[in-house]
């Protein structure tokens, strides 16, 4: 696109046109009328001059004529012929007393020169005259014929050598007088008259030859101007003016007839010269025009600059606005229209600034909101190769990876870090949601950069474009690890509580029949006591010898059996008691114990309790001890702790004696060490281990991998309760299938807060 012309150029053009055109028109008009008038004026002036000069010439020429007339009169008056010498003398007198003629001739009737009188200047040319034969000359013949004075045409005088004229005055007797006039005087006259004029004055004879001319007449004295119409008309007697051209120059000519010789005065003025005033005027106009143009350009320049200034200013302001700066300085407008434009600009800048501020504020709000959201907010651009967009930087907190790492790794990277057990499920859930065009709500474990697994909740939805194609997945990811843990703990606690109440309820229920058993055993013992009075009485009643009865019973080992019953009942009571006891958390039963002692006692108990009947021999198990030095005593309920240790050892022993474990030597590795504020015990076995799904549930009440009837699955849940609730410690297990399991118990050295009594 071509650049439009500048303001200056346009203005220039306009102003120049504006100044030039009227000037030109006006000028042309004026000049034309001037010219016309001028021409008329000049014509008239020249005409007048021509007439004047004609008059003058005529007047001048009348003098020599008068002289000849005088001579004629003198000759005619004289009745007798004057002798030749007298004639000569007379003529000489006349010639001498005048300045016009350079020679006067007297001619015979036949036309032969009889007497010649020459002026003294030309006396030396006498002999040439004798050869003159004026009889052939036209003017002589005309004079004789007409009987009047006749001027001759212009001819070069033999006498003078310069242009001359002759007058032939016929006498009554047929003779004639001819006078030769040098017409230099005419020249002088013309010079004198026309000296001050800028015109060329010329006198033409009746043939049209130039007889005399003033100044520097270009044509020259020998020119013949009879070809000019003007001259022709003038010679006919029509005075007038006309334009004629000569030698390429245009002249204004005015003619006036000179009576007498029938000559013509011609005033010629070169047109250019004639119209000098007009030319001057035109020149002035021209200068004025140039001046006007220059002025116009100058004005245009300054005005353009001035007019452009608001544009420049507005351009600058527009650039400022474009650049985001809205603080426009006030400029003083030069014109009303510009003023309103400036105002509009100010208003526009203010408006834009307000809107921009509002937008910025809103953007700030959104941005800070986005930044503050405690979640990963993402968009997966399905149609752009699953490119990932993250709204904020929270992913760093959640996953440990930087923004760049996440974006670069993309969805593939993320998916790879989902726990392999959870990934198929999450993938299927998302697919299903996409198919049904519904949001998805998934939970999974995610491997943090530090290698640990966090529990994530992800909620998202598939977004479809106008062609109903899947275009992106938008969603949020929360870290739910704490709540998840808390939930699990809560679940555990609830289970524990249910175990607790179950245990307590059961214990109480068992207590009654148990009491019944024991009391009846006691009763039977009493009834078998030979020393008891009532027995004696009853024996006598049935006529039995109590001693024999006693002996009989002894042989049957009744008392042994009764003891066995009592023992069994007693053990049952103990079990019930212990179950009941762990639900009561009386501080009073706590005491300072050495953990290592508790472990060793538990090992001993294990040896005693776990015997061949259960399919294994505890004594075959190798025990590795790894006790740290200087383990301080812990405050605990020793029976409960021992119960927990026994439980773990029992489980471990059973595991190690399973089929798969028989390839390796059954070994317990027991470690005890201080860990900050806690005493930590670790019991590792070389059993088959557990996979994750079992490991997670091992402390669950009633959860057991053993066959039905092989155990209630309560042991570890009770242990969990004892450690975590009663002792405010932690118990956990790690396991590697094929290698073994390790139970870790950590007990605090001190209880900082008071321990709750009876939880049930």
């Amino acid at each position: 696109m071509q650049q439009p012309p500048s303001l200056f150029r346009s203005l220039n053009k306009t102003l120049i046109l504006a100044s030039v055109i009227p000037l030109l028109l006006f000028g042309i008009f004026i000049l034309y009328s001037l010219l016309a008038g001028d021409t008329e004026e000049i014509k008239q002036k020249n005409q007048l001059l021509a007439r004047v000069i004609s008059g003058q010439v005529k007047a001048e020429l009348s003098s020599p004529l008068a002289i000849l007339d005088n001579l004629r009169d003198q000759l005619e008056k004289n009745p007798s012929p004057i002798p030749g010498e007298g004639l000569q003398h007379l003529l000489n007198q006349y010639v001498e007393n005048q300045t016009y003629f350079d020679s006067i001739y007297l001619l015979s009737r036949k036309g032969r020169v009889t007497v010649v009188a020459l002026s003294s200047q030309h006396a030396g040319l006498r002999e040439n005259i004798s050869n003159l034969e004026p009889a052939h000359l036209d003017f002589y013949q005309t004079a004789i014929r007409n009987g009047s004075s006749t001027w001759s045409d212009n001819f070069p005088s033999l006498v003078a050598g310069s242009p001359s004229l002759a007058i032939c005055v016929p006498l009554l007797d047929g003779k004639a007088i001819i006078g030769n006039i040098r017409i230099d005087f005419l020249q002088a006259l013309l010079q004198k008259t026309g000296g001050g004029q800028r015109v060329e004055i010329s006198v033409l004879d009746h043939r049209g030859d130039v007889v005399a001319a003033s100044g520097s007449y270009q044509a020259g004295l020998d020119a013949n101007l009879s070809h000019l119409h003007l001259v022709q008309q003038g010679l006919k007697g029509h005075d007038g003016s006309a334009l004629f051209a000569s030698d390429g120059t245009s002249y204004l000519g005015s003619v006036s007839a000179i009576e007498g010789p029938g000559w013509l005065t011609l005033i010629s003025q070169p047109m250019a010269d004639a119209h000098q005033a007009v030319t001057h005027a035109a020149l002035l106009f021209g200068i004025g025009l140039i001046g006007a143009v220059a002025l116009a350009i100058l004005l245009a320049y300054f005005k353009a600059r001035e007019m452009a200034r608001p544009f420049h200013e507005l351009t600058r302001q527009a650039e400022m606005i474009a650049g985001g700066a809205y603080d426009l300085t006030e400029t003083i407008p030069q014109h009303q229209e510009v003023a309103s434009l400036f105002e509009s600009f100010q208003a526009m800048a203010a408006g834009i600034q307000d809107r921009e501020n509002a937008l910025n504020r809103r953007e700030q709000d959104y941005r800070s909101l986005a930044e503050n959201l405690p979640a990963i907010v993402y968009r997966v651009l399905i149609q752009q190769d699953n490119h990932l967009i993250l709204l904020n930087r929270y992913q760093e907190k959640l996953t440990g990876f930087s923004h760049e790492e996440m974006i670069e790794g993309g969805t593939r990277f993320y998916a790879n870090r989902i726990h392999p057990e959870d990934f198929p499920r999450t993938r299927d859930q998302i697919s299903a949601a996409v198919n049904r065009k519904q949001p998805y709500n998934i939970e999974y474990r995610f491997c943090h950069k530090d290698g640990s697994y966090r529990h994530f909740i992800e909620r998202g939805m598939p977004i479809f474009d106008e062609q109903n194609e899947l275009c992106c997945l938008d969603g949020v990811v929360f870290d739910n690890s704490e709540q998840h843990c808390a939930k699990e703990i809560l679940l555990q606690t609830e289970k524990m509580m249910s175990v607790g109440s179950l245990a307590a309820g059961m214990a109480r229920e068992i207590n009654n029949p148990l009491a019944g058993i024991r009391m009846n055993v006691e009763l039977i013992n009493q009834h078998l006591n030979p020393e008891h009075a009532a027995n004696g009485r009853r024996a006598r009643e049935c006529q039995t010898d109590l001693n024999k009865v006693t002996r009989f019973l002894q042989l049957s080992k009744i008392d042994n059996q009764l003891n066995a019953i009592e023992e069994a009942a007693g053990r049952t009571a103990k079990i019930v008691d212990s179950v009941l006891s762990f639900s009561h958390n009386k501080r009073e039963s706590f005491s300072e114990c050495q953990a290592i002692d508790l472990i060793e006692q538990a090992l001993q108990l294990a040896e005693q309790n776990l015997d061949m009947k259960k399919g294994f021999d505890f004594r075959k198990i190798k025990i590795n001890r790894n006790y740290a030095e200087n383990i301080p005593e812990i405050l605990c309920e020793p029976d409960q702790i021992q119960r927990v240790l026994l439980n773990i050892l029992e489980n471990g022993a059973q595991a190690m004696f399973q089929e798969t474990a028989k390839l390796r030597e059954p070994t317990f590795t027991i470690a005890a060490r201080k860990n900050g504020d806690y005493l930590c015990l670790e019991i590792s076995d070389t059993g088959p281990g557990m996979d994750e799904s079992v490991r997670r549930r091992v402390f669950e009440p009633f959860y057991t991998t053993k066959e039905a009837g092989q155990g209630t699955g309560l042991g570890l849940s009770v242990s969990y309760f004892i450690i975590s609730n009663n002792h405010r410690g932690t118990i956990s297990v790690e396991s590697t299938p094929g290698v073994g399991s390790t139970f870790s118990i950590c007990l605090p050295y001190r209880f900082s807060e008071s321990v709750d009594a009876n939880q049930f």
Partner: protein
């Protein structure tokens, strides 16, 4: 010494009957009841010296029964035979003059203690 009349209340028959037999061997006259209602009926009919009761009873609880029993027979002595380790006497029972000594925990391993306790009830 006159014969001791004892009323035993327990919903567990093995406990109830063995206790009764035991005391009979010591020359006491023992009646039994399975619940509070039955006990109160009996109390309304004959005088007893001692009431041995388990407090966890079907229907009316032992607490209320003891109160009613006291109303029926103000001279009645009470022994509470309970399985709850941390049983506490209610204010009402305390106001009746019961003390911790009168609480026997199940299971009683040595029933002769029961005999001693009964006797001690009448020592003052």
């Amino acid at each position: 010494m006159h014969e001791m009349h004892v009323l035993i209340i327990d919903d567990e028959s093995s406990i109830r009957e063995s206790l009764a037999e035991f005391l009979r061997d010591f020359g006491m006259v023992v009646d039994t009841a399975v619940n509070a209602e039955e006990a109160l009926e009996l109390l309304a009919e004959k005088p007893y010296d001692v009431l041995i009761a388990d407090l966890r009873l079907p229907g009316m609880t032992g607490d209320i029964m003891i109160s009613k029993a006291h109303q029926l027979q103000p001279n009645l002595r009470f022994l509470i035979h309970t399985g709850s380790i941390d049983y506490r006497l209610s204010n009402e029972l305390l106001s009746l003059g019961l003390t911790m000594d009168q609480i026997i925990l199940k299971p009683l391993s040595d029933l002769t203690i029961l005999v001693d306790k009964i006797e001690s009830l009448f020592k003052n």
